[in-house]
């Protein structure tokens, strides 16, 4: 198998899992958190590129650090999420550019899927499947927790435990996402497919299936376009999903 098939396999699964998980993040206006978390991974990506190991593995410790920071800071300070994420965002980018060779900056910022190999593809597919299974199992509880902590508590759901699971899943998807779209564009992977799906859905089944399908379609189309045009895959994936969003816009309801 050549790297095209590997990159397609990674893209399909990561794009689908990101869209599916993103459908939950949209409900609590959390989707944009993936952006700053992505930026925070830049130092990890930089280390991976310099030392030549998988960027997702490099990104993972940084994104976990970011999640823990956001979780702790939000609980301790109750600062608005935007302020926290701006802080995290700037620090991530700043540290990365202290030591990232400028020639490798593009791969870190917008991703580089062209060199996908068997081991990292297997890792991406397995981790994406694990996210989808975990999200599917916890979906009702996570949705309820997102809608209202009190409603969830009245149902006997341990809200803090599920919050932590939720943040952990976000961390994993961001670490995977940086592989295909880089550190700058991860928010798009989780935010755009569910936003497009929401425009055309009447119920939650259509919404989650739609978000997953649009995530997969964007990733596959972006990677195919990359093979045809030579433009980097990450930006193409994001632009395809943005185009799909625009197509769904006429169907959006006002409310």
């Amino acid at each position: 198998m050549d790297s095209s098939l590997f990159s397609l396999a990674s893209g399909t699964f990561i794009g689908g899992a990101a869209g599916y998980l993103g459908s939950l993040m949209l409900s609590r206006r959390m989707a944009l958190v993936a952006g700053p978390l992505g930026h925070l991974t830049l130092p990890g990506i930089a280390l991976a590129l310099v030392w030549g190991f998988d960027v997702s593995l490099g990104a993972f410790p940084f994104v976990i650090l970011g999640v823990v920071l956001i979780w702790l800071l939000e609980m301790k300070t109750r600062l608005p999420m935007e302020a926290l994420t701006a802080l995290v965002f700037a620090s991530g980018v700043a540290i990365a550019f202290l030591f990232l060779p400028i020639g490798q900056a593009e791969g870190a910022l917008v991703g580089d899927i062209s060199k996908a190999g068997l081991p990292d593809t297997v890792l991406s597919v397995a981790a994406s499947l694990a996210i989808m299974v975990a999200v599917r199992r916890a979906y009702p509880k996570l949705v309820l927790g997102n809608i209202s902590e009190e409603l969830a508590a009245a149902e006997g759901i341990d809200v803090r435990r599920y919050d932590l699971l939720y943040l952990f899943l976000i961390a994993v998807i961001v670490a995977l996402g940086v592989k295909i779209v880089g550190g700058l564009l991860t928010a798009a992977l989780v935010a755009i497919p569910p936003s497009a799906a929401r425009n055309v859905s009447r119920n939650i089944r259509q919404y989650t299936l739609g978000a997953t399908a649009i995530g997969v379609t964007s990733a596959v189309a972006g990677i195919v376009l990359f093979r045809l045009t030579g433009f980097p895959a990450g930006p193409l994936i994001v632009l395809v999903s943005a185009a799909i969003f625009l197509l769904t816009l006429p169907f959006a309801r006002r409310r």
């Binding site: 206006r29 009190e150 009245a154």
Partner: protein
């Protein structure tokens, strides 16, 4: 209505501090089975915080003891995030464990049509939405209903008001209810006991003997005018 003597809920010396401000202090009360307790107070009195403390979602000092195994239904005042996802009414009920598949039946209990189950939550009127929330809370067959600020029921020809609905539910199911409100009519029409709250308890007891002009003045401040509610 006979009350069992065993308390469903016992609160003693409750204190809640949020962001360094004491929002509730020195609060103790007991709720028995079948009782309707209204919690009356001005805006910012800590009424919603009290409900959240009872549900365990805000840190507190003092003790809150629910009778073991008590099933609680909670009707929130609003759910700002729910319109962000395309949930149908049936989807919303599917999130509740023990709700069962008969969404239409649950909607009929609160005076809504079964056909509403396919509608998107975001497309409901605020009156329909409040009834859906009540039906949702009732779906798990709770023993206790916590209700945050029922919107003042407007009588539309032939429709049961939310108060009448609550009174009927209380009659039919012997539900224990804690209702947060700033509406004196709700207190008088529904409750067996009222707890007047303004960060600390101001008065407590049966509405008729408790809601004296003097106590209401202490609760709302001297500038507020009100009239005494008299039963025929």
């Amino acid at each position: 209505m006979a009350h069992d003597d065993e308390p469903v809920l016992q609160v003693s010396d409750l204190e809640v501090t949020l962001e360094g401000r004491v929002v509730l202090t020195d609060l103790s009360f007991t709720v028995r089975r079948g009782e309707i307790l209204t919690i009356l107070g001005p805006n910012g009195a800590g009424k919603t915080v009290l409900l959240r403390a009872l549900l365990g979602t805000v840190p507190h000092q003092g003790t809150i003891t629910w009778k073991k195994g008590t099933r609680i239904g909670y009707v929130p005042q609003r759910l700002p995030y729910i319109r962000n996802i395309p949930l149908s009414v049936a989807d919303f009920f599917a999130l509740k464990k023990g709700a069962g598949p008969d969404v239409g039946g649950m909607l009929r209990t609160v005076g809504l049509g079964a056909e509403l189950s396919k509608n998107r939550i975001g497309d409901l009127s605020s009156g329909q939405f409040q009834r859906v929330l009540i039906a949702w809370a009732l779906a798990g067959d709770p023993e206790v209903l916590l209700f945050d600020e029922p919107t003042t029921g407007v009588d539309i020809g032939g429709e049961e008001t939310v108060y009448a609905l609550l009174a009927r539910l209380h009659r039919e199911r012997n539900l224990t209810m804690l209702i947060v409100t700033h509406d004196l009519a709700v207190v008088h029409r529904l409750s067996s006991t009222v707890l007047c709250l303004n960060r600390q308890p101001i008065c407590q007891g049966p509405p008729i003997s408790t809601l004296t002009p003097e106590n209401l003045r202490r609760l709302y401040g001297p500038e507020v005018k009100f009239y005494e509610h008299r039963h025929p």
